[in-house]
């Protein structure tokens, strides 16, 4: 039967249990009343309590903006909104993003999405709101609502939709995407692109397919589940 090869290696493993010593395997006993390993609540608490404290401390430090976190999301659509974005070192170019073969998000797109890649070297965002659709429920991340703003470095986003009131400083339009210099990302050769020294976008709204940020500082972080997105 298929079960037998599954049993043998495990029986070989059992004597390795340091505490059990010479106590014979429970195999002679009927299952259920056998002596078997289990979790001791007090022992688990020895680790659970400090771990919870550390996790709480991490969350608090992040929410105060003292600790930067890193983001790398891709393959699932998510929305980012902010009342204001200020950035230095801005690049933008078009491209085609391929989904993983057989991805459930494929729909009628044939697995390819036309995207706009925006890269910003340093950015600060006011009242950032980010929502990810987790199938039925949305995960909502809000930050930067207070006096301190969200800051991000090496922010790269692949968007399908981008709207807002933008103002650029020192903009160069119509470069080849492979010659971009302002944010350190280079696009494919022969693709239209633009770059600017500074950018300011009010009432930003993006639908993204991928985002990466080297360091994200999120003061006033709130994480919650909600039925509606941003």
């Amino acid at each position: 039967m298929a079960s037998s090869p599954d049993v043998t290696p495990s029986a070989g493993n059992t004597p390795e249990n340091p505490e059990s010593g010479s106590v014979p395997e429970a195999s002679e006993n009927p299952v259920g009343t056998a002596r078997r390993g289990r979790v001791r609540a007090r022992r688990a608490a020895v680790m659970a309590v400090p771990a919870t404290l550390v996790a709480g401390a991490l969350a608090v430090l992040t929410a105060e903006g003292a600790l930067g976190v890193q983001f790398a999301i891709s393959g699932m659509p998510f929305t980012v909104t902010a009342t204001e974005l200020n950035g230095t070192g801005f690049e933008q170019f078009g491209g085609l993003d391929n989904m993983a073969p057989g991805s459930p998000n494929e729909g009628d797109t044939g697995g390819q999405v036309l995207i706009v890649t925006s890269a910003i070297k340093n950015a600060t965002l006011t009242k950032l709101c980010q929502s990810v659709d987790l199938g039925g429920t949305n995960l909502l991340i809000t930050a930067g609502g207070g006096a301190e703003k969200v800051s991000a470095t090496d922010l790269t986003t692949d968007s399908t939709e981008l709207s807002g009131d933008a103002a650029f400083n020192n903009i160069e339009i119509g470069n080849d995407a492979s010659t971009l210099t302002k944010a350190g990302v280079k696009g494919p050769i022969g693709v239209f692109s633009q770059q600017a020294d500074t950018v300011r976008i009010a009432n930003l709204r993006q639908t993204n397919y991928a985002t990466t940020a080297g360091v994200f500082k999120l003061p006033g972080l709130k994480l919650r589940f909600s039925s509606t997105g941003c």
Partner: protein, 137 residues
């Protein structure tokens, strides 16, 4: 020992001598985090060492979870490393896979840490008290 019953009892016995849920949850947590962040390799290389850590930590979580299952003797080391790596993913990997993976990994590590082999069968508190009362006089 043949048929589905034999397989099930064999599986239960296999489960009984290792921190099954601990290892499983830790591995699942790592897998979930990896699922939420499949950024393209080109971008990762651009971000540099930090971007690589974002992948390394959840991959380690999966590895440690599986090792807990298949080499339960070393579960203390695996669970302590597991909890540290799990907490590290908050910084490197999408807030620990949007918190879900972090929670799975932390619960898994704690279960693996608290697990002991060869325990008495579980008894209720009332039953224990009754036994103590019977033994007292």
């Amino acid at each position: 020992m043949n048929g589905p019953d034999g397989f099930r009892s064999a599986f239960r016995r296999w489960r009984a001598d290792r921190p099954f849920w601990g290892g499983l949850l830790l591995a699942l947590g790592g897998a979930w985090i990896l699922l939420t962040m499949k950024a393209s390799l080109k971008v990762i290389l651009h971000v540099g060492m930090q971007g690589l850590a974002g992948y390394l930590l959840p991959a380690l979580m999966v590895l440690l979870g599986l090792l807990t299952l298949f080499n339960p003797a070393q579960r203390l080391f695996y669970s302590i490393t597991g909890i540290l790596v799990t907490l590290g993913t908050w910084l490197t990997s999408n807030l620990g896979g949007f918190f879900v993976g972090l929670l799975l990994g932390a619960v898994g590590s704690c279960l693996a840490f608290g697990w002991l082999p060869d325990q008495e069968p579980r008894r209720g508190r009332r039953q224990r008290r009754k036994e103590a009362a019977a033994a007292a006089p």
